[in-house]
Amino acid sequence: MYNMEDRNNLNNIFRDRFNNEDIPKEEWNTPDHEVWENIERTLPKKEDKSSKSTLIPFLLSLALLSFMFLGYKYFEKAQKVNDLEILLKECSESKEIPSYNFSAQNSITQTSIVKNDKSIKSSFEASQVNNSFYLVVKGLTNIQAPNLNINENIFDDVKVLSSNGNIISNFGPSDLNLNKGANNKLDSISSERELNSANKFEKGRILEVTPLNQMELMMLLSSKNRLLIDFTNTNIPMIISSKKTTGPWMIGVSSGHIQWVDHKKGRLNNPLSELLLDENTSSSFNLQLNFLKVLHPKLSLNLGLGIYSRTQSSTYRLSLPYSIANETSHGNEFHNYFEHSLPTSLGNINTNLTLARSISSNVTNNENVDLDFSLANKTRAINVPITFIYYPMNNGQGLYFETGINTELIYQQKLAKVTTNSFHSQVDDRDMKVAFDRKQIEQINFAIPLGIGYSKKLGSNISIDFSAKYGFGLSNVHMHEGFTHKIDRITSQISVFKSL
């Protein structure tokens, strides 16, 4: 007789001998080739659907972004040409302008042109001024022309006025030295008082400021979207801003909360019973990277790349006939196995349910057993919002409205929880195994957001945004014969942007 130690040794010897996963190839331990061929035959045809389904939305998004970018560039170019054409036409129609004589070495630097309260700095340089010129600022709304006063030989004052003639900004020396000195031939156009009476600052009109005669203009568009006006006869290069200046790109980060709103229609008919008791979606935390492009002082394009996850929980009421004939004996219990395919938001899942009753229980054959079956699936997604932001009050800040399209690319779906709860007094739910095929799940969803927000500038190139959006879901997250489930989203978000 051997003792307990020997017994354990023997067990360990057996265990160790069969615990090696790397077994040298021998005839007896090598299965026939047909085994793999049979396995392969049962596997889905080789179709790299997951990568394909990720690639297609990516390519579509890329194509959409490229299309929008090219369209924008075309629009921008066309607008520049259009502005230039209008400007040239307006200039050609200009009436004879009073002339001013400049002495040599007149110069202005760092003067400004103001558009809709937004200052656009421009550089003016004048030298060896022996001829006449005039500065044209066209198509501005509300105001906005620099008013150049001549004080002897120097441009020493620039005023910006609104359409009704009020002074908005005053640059340069605070003292207007109008009509100073015998050599100054200041015309009324330089005078605030005179401008008011002349009523020249109308919307969309060319404002003729500090005109000079004998000019020949050559206008070019500079690389920075500004008009370069070259006064060829006067040797005075000037740069002024074009009518529609697009702003720089801004980059920002957002974080926010998404509350999902479930919209279910119809009734789920599934082969086990027919009752989907409830299906709802948990809220999400959203983290997003944004790129903002100012298309117009009041209109911006926002491109985002966000990430979030959500959990969708479904509860089904199942009613199963408990067959005594199919029971198997397990100690003091009888077990019954149920294999079913159940339509869910994860597609058709395969369920393996084990029901159990004690040997002493009294259950009749095919007696109905009601139980709740709950499953939670966790979805991780990348969100690509492409939206337009309109600022009705102020340029690029204050209250805004936002709309566009959200594209949700799902990159992971997994079962978060599976539970069962039997309502039968004598039959218990012992085990539930669930398997699903990821390839059945929609990988892309769309939504249209409508939102309102408020943007506040914190500095020259930083702003903070608060927004609330309602996104109308366009895609179903669960659909099965007579039943559809869409989810809308309510997003509240805070963003910080910085100019690039």
Binding site: I13, F18, I23, W28, W36
Partner: protein
């Protein structure tokens, strides 16, 4: 097999699936042969097991153990399911008849093939309990649950399996 390869398997990449098969088919075929005396049955179990593996591989959690441990569980369950369909028959014997003999030294001299053949030569009930208890490491309570038998049945089947094995070992040596 590393995690990226397993992810490829889950995504249906055929070469990764074949690699998984090539890596483990021999060890798992030996496992199946321990449960079935007939090689065709063992090959059927191997085939069914791998089909389940490719179907359920997404459930594998590397934090809970190695892929080989997970594969073994899948294949053990597959073998037991097939055995259940074949109506496992367990016969109880009196405890007084149980005599334990162990020959560790002799067993350790045998090759894997010989040991597998020894196990295969046992009646199905003995073999199944022996595999589950001695090699897989389950206790009698777990085995009783898995096979739907009482713990005492599991114990007596194991004792009889060992006695049977002893007789066979004596013949071999």
């Amino acid at each position: 097999m590393d995690t990226p390869k397993l992810k490829l398997c889950i995504d249906g990449n055929r070469s990764a699936q074949k690699e998984l098969y090539d890596s483990y088919n021999r060890a798992l075929f030996v496992l199946c042969q321990r449960y079935f005396s007939d090689v065709d049955d063992a090959q059927d179990a191997l085939q069914d097991g791998f089909i389940k593996v490719y179907r359920d591989l997404y459930q594998f959690d590397a934090l809970k153990g190695s892929i080989y441990s997970w594969l073994k569980k899948v294949f053990i369950n597959t073998c037991l399911e097939k055995l259940r369909k074949k109506k496992l028959d367990f016969v109880n014997v009196d405890d007084s008849q149980i005599i334990s003999y162990y020959e560790p030294d002799v067993i350790s001299t045998l090759g894997l093939k010989e040991i597998t053949e020894l196990i295969q030569s046992m009646p199905t009930g003995y073999r199944t309990v022996f595999n589950l208890y001695v090699i897989e490491g389950y206790n009698h309570s777990e085995i009783a649950q898995m096979l739907g038998i009482s713990e005492s049945t599991s114990k007596t089947q194991l004792m009889k399996a060992k006695n049977f094995l002893k007789g066979k070992i004596e013949l071999v040596v």
